[in-house]
């Protein structure tokens, strides 16, 4: 491990390579573009493949194939690009194909897209939200482990600030051998044996066993898998000075770092303000949010959108404390996620106002 000054995007790329990702496909879109650049440079040096896919549809299709062939694989994009990928993400969950999707959002306007998914059917994707490049490495590794363990797409949420901010981070330059291909994956070798493997979102029953595709049975199996996944992933959150808080802030990703500064600032002024930062956005850390909210006067959700995660906070708190949104922090006219409204001073002023009025 060595500390290096890198662009956040490079931290994402290095983390993926360190985690054994050997196939990446992407289509340029700000602020995802630089991750693609770094993967294009890094993967060939470790025997991996980076594809400059001609569209997001093809990027996620390529990753579907590479993952089904036993390689740790990832793709990613931003807002609209991820919207294009949703059909494949939803269907990959049904097919039991796990890979990692980077959601390099511009602001935080894609919380619903990440946590609910824009695709069809009863699928869910685990969603991990680092607060900055320093946490990226650990969560990327976990994301690949989850994708393998649950054979399901896993999303890691970054944003414009994280992608484009240069930071000093500890980066592993060791690239351990990637894990071997899981048994279910395809390498052609079972052909001609009378039991050739099948990987399909329609199920894996073969006609030689007396049945065609049995969709009802397959969907029931997928339901069980999803429920096991939801129960098998421990929701995580980080809390800051929540024990005696009168006002509890809830924020994730980069916005949580602003909130952390505001908590420190207001505490020094004698105000009882705390913060809970969800790290897993799905499954959502409902218990941690509810426990932190118990005894609070008010819960304030700080997010860089018109108010999306606030739904999950309300579902966690269940009326124990009033929940308000500190949002409306949209994007600037270039839509790149830099809003003049996003500042420690602005948030501190909003929280002071809440302290006086609530």
């Amino acid at each position: 491990m060595s500390a290096r000054l890198v662009e956040g995007s490079e931290a994402f790329a290095q983390a993926m390579v360190s985690a054994g990702c050997r196939f990446f496909a992407g289509y340029p879109m700000t602020p995802f573009t630089e991750v693609l650049e770094h993967m294009a440079a890094a993967l060939p040096t470790v025997g991996g493949v980076c594809m400059n896919a001609e569209s997001e549809l093809e990027a996620v299709g390529m990753v579907w194939g590479a993952a089904a062939a036993g390689t740790r694989a990832a793709t990613g994009s931003t807002g609209q690009g991820l919207s294009l990928m949703q059909e494949s993400i939803a269907e990959a969950a049904l097919a039991g194909i796990g890979f990692v999707v980077l959601n390099m959002a511009r602001g935080q306007g894609d919380y619903f897209q990440a946590t609910r998914g824009g695709g069809h059917g009863d699928y869910r994707t685990p969603v991990l939200a680092p607060s900055g490049p320093a946490e990226v490495s650990q969560l990327i590794g976990e994301a690949f482990d989850l994708a393998d363990r649950w054979r399901n797409p896993v999303m890691v949420v970054g944003d414009y600030y994280m992608a484009h901010t240069w930071v000093d981070v500890e980066l592993s330059e060791d690239y351990p051998e990637p894990r071997s291909a899981p048994d279910w994956t395809l390498d052609g070798s079972t052909g001609g044996t009378g039991g050739a493997k099948l990987v399909s979102p329609l199920g894996t029953t073969k006609q030689r066993d007396g049945v065609g595709y049995d969709l009802a049975a397959h969907y029931a199996h997928a339901d069980q898998q999803r429920e096991a996944m939801a129960a098998g992933i421990t929701p995580r959150a980080e809390t800051t000075q929540t024990e005696d808080a009168e006002i509890l802030l809830v924020a994730y990703g980069t916005m949580a770092r602003y909130a952390e500064s505001v908590v420190a600032m207001l505490r020094s002024e004698g105000h009882a303000v705390g913060l809970v930062r969800p790290i897993t956005l799905w499954p959502y850390p409902e218990r941690q949010v509810a426990e932190a909210a118990a005894g609070c006067r008010l819960v304030a959700v700080y997010e860089n959108n018109a108010g999306q995660m606030i739904d999950d906070v309300k579902l966690s708190v269940l009326g124990v404390a009033p929940v308000v949104g500190l949002n409306g922090y949209r994007t600037d006219s270039s839509a790149f996620g830099i809003s003049p409204d996003v500042s420690v001073e602005q948030l501190a002023a909003s929280v002071r106002e809440l302290l006086e009025t609530s």
Binding site: R22, F23, A25, V49, M51, A53, E54, S55, L57, E58, A59, V60, G61, M62, V63, W64, G65, A66, A67, A68, A69, G70, T71, A73, E87, S88, E91, A95, L186, D187, G188, S189, T190, G191, G192, T193, G194, G195, A196, K197, L198, V199, S200, P201, L202, G203, T204, T205, K206, Q207, R208, G212, Y213
Partner: protein, 273 residues
């Protein structure tokens, strides 16, 4: 279960004489196809085309190094009925999925099976981009000029005058646009190693199509880039013609726009042309 299912030579039913042994045909299960019977419509050409593909794989000894990537359409009925490894893809997406498989396992014979609605309507850019990349896979398009699975609807390959459920008086170029010739489109892209269009409407064309499949997989194994074989298949249900008239309908209507033949080959010689 390691019986050797490879045939010793390409088996072609002679077209010049009538079959004499009906019981043998009924009992026959083709190579690398698990169950001989299928649940597609009577007169459908797709099972014949699928068999041509599997015969080529068996003949070339590629069974244990093949991965088939299926699209969504009538032919999906075969995606769980083959004794080669199969990866099911979404409608339109088989070429990109096959790309992912091929790039991480470059030694394999990776091939796609799609219909014309799947490949040419929903996902045309995928096969075009694969061709331009010189992706070393075999892409097969079963072209019957209709969305068969939905009941016979217009695709981009539907020929002028062809009746479909949504061009019930026949495709009219002024109203419904012109048919696209997919093999011709692909043949002019640098990066392809082999492009051909076969048909399964008579024994001669079936035999020719099998040889095209052998050539396509041979080109793939030689690393010549994308191999593409389009196969004209009968769809009497989607064409609204009696089953026994469908082969002639194919010859007279469909093949008039989509001509059978080898369009491009980087192989030293292409005996099927």
């Amino acid at each position: 279960m390691t019986e050797d299912r490879r045939p010793k030579e390409l088996f072609v039913i002679p077209s010049s004489e009538a079959p004499t042994d009906a019981s043998r045909v009924a009992d026959f299960t083709p190579d690398l196809i698990d169950v001989g019977e299928h649940h597609l419509c009577p007169g459908c050409g797709e099972p014949i085309a699928i068999r041509a593909v599997m015969d080529a794989i068996a003949l070339l000894g590629l069974a244990e190094k093949s991965v088939a990537v299926f699209g969504i359409g009538c032919s999906t009925a075969f995606s769980n009925n083959l004794d080669v490894e199969v990866l099911q893809a979404l409608h339109g997406r088989a070429p990109s999925v096959a790309t992912g498989v091929s790039r991480v396992r470059p030694g394999l014979a990776v091939f796609t099976i799609q219909g014309d609605g799947d490949m040419a309507n929903e996902g045309l850019q995928e096969v075009l981009h694969c061709a331009a990349r010189g992706e070393n896979i075999v892409c097969i398009m079963l072209n019957n000029g209709v969305f068969g699975e939905t009941g016979g609807h217009l695709t981009v390959t539907t020929t002028i005058g062809q009746r479909t459920k949504n061009t019930i008086e026949g495709r009219d170029a002024a109203k419904h646009g012109h048919p696209m010739r997919i093999a011709e489109l692909l043949a002019q892209i640098d990066g392809v190693g082999y492009v051909a269009r076969g048909a399964v409407n008579d024994a001669g064309n079936v035999a020719r199509t099998k040889r095209m499949m052998v050539e396509a997989f041979t080109a793939q194994q030689q690393g010549l880039g994308l191999s593409f074989v389009e196969v004209l298949t009968m769809c009497p249900t989607g064409w609204f013609v009696p089953t026994d008239e469908a082969p002639n309908y194919l010859a007279e209507t469909i093949a008039g726009t989509h001509a059978v033949g080898v369009l491009r080959s980087a192989l030293p010689s292409s005996p099927s042309d």
